[in-house]
């Protein structure tokens, strides 16, 4: 099969993995050195496809042959898709060529399981090793971790990759058993545990190195890095009846116990010849959007999953989770912007983290006035009932939440277009 045909098949096969970030790598440069590639911690989106998704890495499967039969997956054993397999050299060639043209910042490599989990993991490592050692590639590498693979292989993978990930896909034992009986939640957690240990150990070594004066300019004298960009995972949304509360609790647990950098939520997209029991509906994009908003509130705003959803069910589709929380906790408002703790200001609907920082900086110099919220371009219509400034008190602070919510949400059009 021609390289171009393999690429067409194996890029299509890889699109269901939502993680594509090229961020979190340490600073590297090829200036004045053999080889190529650099990284800086901040990712680059080199292009965007018409689904609004960023093209940052060459995202392919090494092969889409697979022994497993996970029902939600287009590459499952029983699926009638065209199959292909790259040689490691072909993947290297594509990565370097695209990189030099500045169309990607690195490689994201996954694979169907062939022959055995160990064998598959070895093939992935081989590609990364070729890039790092033979071609001295210093760009970004994200490798999938095959959960059943030998921990020694996971350890080796971490030496070449900036980020590793093992996909949970489905958060509960029951859903995994129903839709992907060959996968084991316990094994996936074990793999994440191994990766976490490796990452923690490398971080400890790095901190030790940072404390001591630099003994030599040779970077090999320093402790080897292990997946410095951390690990991430993905959960599929809408493939079965699992609700948002379960998904968010699972994500919170993963962040705490495995110190993941990111959890991705991937709306289940219709696949050809989908097995019975899987929905044929359009992907639930709005639900996925709300989950990302809730995830961001948990990671960066100090919310707990239990605060956002304390009963079984899904997040409100009509309003964002932060506003929903505020409407359910009116006793905590209005917030006096000149006195309140930053963490509480961050809970005001319509004020984002950057504005919180700017307000806190400003109130060291002078009192905050309503006009400052205008200048900082906070969402005024949303925040008005919830804040107090030197020259402003809300008139609708005593209005009940139902009425307030009605006022805050725009009148719904007759047909709601789900993008």
């Amino acid at each position: 099969m021609e390289l171009i045909d393999k690429l067409s098949i194996l890029a299509d096969a890889a699109k269901y993995d939502a993680s594509c970030a090229s961020s979190g790598a340490p600073k590297r440069s090829s200036r004045g050195k053999a080889g190529l590639g650099s990284s800086s911690g901040m990712g680059i989106c080199h292009s965007f496809t018409p689904d609004g998704r960023c093209v940052s890495l060459l995202k392919v499967l090494l092969t889409n042959f697979c022994l497993f039969d996970c029902q939600y997956c287009v590459n499952r054993r029983s699926s009638n898709v065209p199959r292909a397999r790259f040689t490691p050299e072909e993947v290297v060639r594509l990565t370097l060529s695209f990189y030099r043209r500045n169309t990607i910042s690195g490689l994201f490599l996954s694979s169907g399981i062939i022959r055995s989990s160990d064998y598959t993991m070895e093939q992935l490592i081989r590609v990364a090793k070729l890039l790092r050692e033979t071609h001295q590639f210093r760009g970004y590498i994200h490798l999938k971790a095959i959960p059943e693979a030998d921990p020694k292989l996971l350890e080796e993978a971490g030496r070449y990759a900036d980020r590793l990930s093992a996909n949970i896909e489905l958060p509960t034992l029951t859903s995994l058993k129903t839709l992907a009986p060959e996968k084991e939640l316990g094994t996936i957690h074990a793999a994440m545990g191994h990766m976490r240990q490796g990452i923690d150990a490398a971080n400890d070594d790095a901190r030790q190195d940072a404390r001591q004066p630099i003994r030599s300019g040779n970077p090999r004298r320093q402790a080897p890095r292990y997946a410095p960009g951390g690990q991430s995972t993905q959960m599929i949304v809408g493939a079965d009846a699992t609700d948002d509360r379960t998904i968010l609790q699972s994500a919170q647990h993963l962040y705490r116990d495995f110190r993941l950098k990111r959890v991705y939520y991937s709306a289940f997209s219709p696949i050809p010849e989908r097995p019975a029991g899987l929905p044929q509906a359009a992907p639930p994009l709005l639900r996925e959007h709300r989950l990302y908003q809730a995830d961001f509130l948990i990671r960066s705003y100090g919310f707990q999953a239990e605060e956002l959803l304390n009963a079984p069910g899904n997040l409100d589709l009509e309003i964002d989770p932060k506003l929903a929380w505020a409407l359910a906790h009116r006793d905590d408002f209005p917030v006096d912007l000149n006195r309140a703790e930053p963490a509480m200001i961050a809970r005001v609907p319509g004020i984002g983290l950057r504005s919180v920082q700017r307000l806190v900086d400003l109130r060291r110099l002078r009192r905050i006035r309503y006009q400052d919220l205008v200048s900082l371009r906070c969402r005024l219509d949303t925040l008005r009932p919830f804040v107090v400034t030197q020259d402003y008190r809300p008139t609708d602070a005593h209005q009940d939440s139902v009425r307030l919510r009605q006022n805050l949400t725009a009148p719904q059009p007759a047909q709601m277009a789900l993008w």
Binding site: R31, E184, T187, P283, R358, S375
Partner: protein, 311 residues
């Protein structure tokens, strides 16, 4: 105490770039010249000022002033320096304030103890932050959307790119690509300046040499690129998920003014149209779906059992 002049003296200051502005501004500050008394000109000192008022009232800034150093915070200096990269007077920019008077106004306020001058909630500070944000964004666009094309010469492997930045970010891009490309030689040509990298040093040219411009534009506009050009376009089409079509988000992140010089830009309208007309049902790329498929028989080489004996 100085007597109040009957007619205020107007000083004229020239600056081509930030460092020149900084030198002039320092002198003016040390002589206590307020912003309203300065007329700033973009350009060199030797150029005649076409709009000069009778020269009796115009004076260059005094060369010697008080010797106390002007101090501002490093963050504030970064803000000023980056806001100065913003090109005013563009199509989208409307009635933009010229940059040197704005910067001097802010500097004047800062040195008089008004630290809010650089805060985003302040009238002046807000403009600076908006400009810095636009400059940062344009530098990021350059890192992201610039496309190199391979054009070997007598010395071997070589890459060339054409880019049209909306603000003065050429050096920010050049440094980034010097780190990225290592020993490879490359040239970036823009309508204003150009830069080349020979593997070890950057060579800036202003204005950009015509030969560079011509070669870069030809490389970008040529439809029949090399084999790897086709591979990239194949990848781009294949990685798209038609079931998630979202024109609005795509154009928010990737403004249409860049599409022309992207190797994959001309594919976008066709991909969108195809998705809208029926292809949106499935996530799979249609050409892949049309190929012959292969279901794999089960019971092939059973997986080895995990350490606990469970499967």
């Amino acid at each position: 105490m100085n007597p109040i002049p009957v007619r205020p003296t107007q000083h004229i200051a020239h600056a081509r770039d930030f460092d020149e502005w900084r030198t002039q501004a320092r002198q003016l500050l040390q002589a206590d010249i307020p912003p309203a008394s300065v007329t700033w000109q973009d350009g060199e000192d030797s150029h005649a000022d076409l709009f000069a008022t009778p020269s009796s009232s115009a004076q260059p800034p005094p060369a010697q002033g008080s010797s106390s150093p002007i101090r501002i915070g490093r963050d504030q200096l970064t803000l000023l320096r980056n806001a100065a990269r913003y090109r005013t007077g563009g199509v989208d920019q409307g009635a933009d304030q010229p940059r040197w008077p704005l910067l001097y106004q802010v500097l004047w306020r800062l040195t008089r103890g008004d630290a809010t001058a650089t805060h985003p909630a302040d009238a002046d500070g807000r403009v600076l932050h908006q400009r810095w944000h636009a400059v940062k964004r344009e530098a990021h666009h350059m890192h992201a959307f610039l496309r190199f094309h391979r054009r070997d010469d007598a010395l071997g492997e070589r890459y060339i790119a054409w880019f049209e930045p909306a603000h003065d970010v050429l050096d920010l891009g050049a440094e980034h690509f010097a780190d990225r490309m290592g020993g490879s030689r490359w040239i970036i040509a823009t309508p204003e300046g150009g830069v080349s990298w020979n593997g070890s040093a950057l060579d800036y040219r202003h204005p950009c040499p015509d030969s560079w411009k011509a070669e870069a534009r030809a490389a970008t506009d040529r439809v029949n690129g090399d084999e790897d050009h086709t591979l990239w376009r194949t990848y781009f089409a294949s990685t798209f998920n038609p079931a998630r079509l979202n024109h609005k988000v795509m154009t928010q992140h990737m403004p249409q003014r860049f599409w022309r010089h992207l190797s994959e830009g001309d594919l976008i309208p066709a991909m969108e149209a195809k998705a809208r007309h029926g292809g949106q049902r499935l996530a799979q790329e249609t050409s892949v779906g049309q190929r012959k498929g292969k279901a794999l028989p089960s019971g092939r080489a059973a997986l080895p059992r995990g350490p606990s004996g469970e499967k």
